[in-house]
Amino acid sequence: MNSTVATGTEEKTWGGGNKPLKASYGKMMMWFFIVSDALTFSAFLAAYGFSRFKFVNEWPIADEVFTHVPFLHGQELPMIYVAFMTFVLIMSSVTMVLAVDAGHRMNKAKVTIYMFLTIIGGAIFVGSQAWEWATFIQGDYGAVQTKGGNILQFGKNVTEDGVEKFKRVSIEDLAIPIADVRVEHDRSNGLWFREEATLPPYSVNEIYAGLVANENVLVRTQLLDENGHKTILSREESLKQIKENGKLVVKGANLQVNEYGTSLFADFFFFITGFHGFHVLSGVVLNIIIFFNVVLGTYERRGSYEMVEKVGLYWHFVDLVWVFVFTFFYLV
């Protein structure tokens, strides 16, 4: 953006209005912000790598966790939805860069349309992420946590299309209700005791009774074998593990515990995708502000659409980060 105030010192090196490296002040500072923000994200991802290396032989397999697609209930479709989200974000990056391009040619109508499409793309992405979170928190099959904090999952060997494979069994199908389970404390039945967090859906005893009754159900531990599959215990070992070590029935995920595996997995999922989603959200807000400025003709009067370019840099950066999150969280 050219300075509109004439101070009479523009010609001198330090007089202001200069563009070192042929980049305007705002654009350069946006780049420096992006570099520092990239370091924040890489710190998150490197910390994720640290924790994963620490538990490298028992880390959850992302393909088994993220298998849901909206409207296709009950089907296991790993990666499809995340791939869709990635495509939406890349697409909205494209409309953004088209808006910048139209801005260079001072075409207000096109900038308006492309900015609008970018905002829509961002909104779809944030909505998808919210759905992804909800599904992740809701959980899938449930599991039992041991005293040592390890997760035990259930399943049985079934033959489908001539191939024998391990199919997960959910705790709802397994548990046999037992009458005298503990009821949740609330404020009305206690003098000192105020209230407690929600109780797990089932007790370990109910799960154990179900496991005894269903003779083909086996327990799967978190440990990975040399082929990268989770270890499945024998029938006797399954019963023994649940009876002796089972402590808590887990369904879904929160910051303390999750049914997919080590608690750090859910923690990093919430922090990394949450931090990224927050960036997308603020990017959408910035885009909306710029969109209205475009509509009102602010940049037309200013004679330059460079603000669109600056906010575009931020938007592309959000896309750039997602490319890495996608790889390190969902693929690798």
Binding site: L21, A83, L98, N227, L320, T327
Partner: protein, 148 residues
């Protein structure tokens, strides 16, 4: 406002007529890369699931070889492919969508080299430490028991 755009990608192999067509071209390229990633991620071909080189055994030069070739010695080829494809995607997003290709060379280096250096440093230190902590937990003389 005249803006100069460099319109060729793949080191001049493909040259576009206008900036708009370059944008669509890059989109097609990024989409293809993403589709390759997703297909590989779903099917996980067996040939990519085991390392192609086993760690060298022996003296100093074996250790040195393991360090230099560590991506091939310790990493599954599939993961290596994913990381390389990701970096390729990141390159085209930064160079063509964020217009780094059109910036002054020194400005571009200022941004990219700083970030790449610090991120590599951070990743190396944390991953190295994570591997060490794994050994502490799972070594033969470890005093920590977590499976009970």
């Amino acid at each position: 406002m005249a803006h100069e755009h460099k319109l060729e990608i793949f080191r001049g192999l493909v040259k576009f007529k206008s900036n708009t067509s370059k944008i669509w071209g890059v989109l097609i390229f990024l989409t293809i890369v993403t589709i390759i990633e997703v297909v590989l991620g779903i099917y996980k071909p067996d040939m990519f699931m085991h390392t192609w080189i086993t760690p060298f055994e022996g003296g100093f030069f074996a250790t040195l070889g393991n360090i230099i070739l560590s991506p091939f010695v310790y990493m599954k080829p599939l993961n290596l492919i994913f990381i390389v494809l990701t970096i390729i995607k990141a390159y085209y997003i930064a160079w063509d969508f964020m217009h780094l290709r059109d910036e002054t060379g020194s400005f571009r280096k200022m941004i990219v080299w700083t970030g790449v250096f610090l991120i590599c440093y951070l990743a190396f230190i944390l991953l190295q430490e994570g591997g060490y902590v794994f050994d502490v937990y799972n070594g033969e003389d470890s005093l920590i028991k977590r499976d009970f």
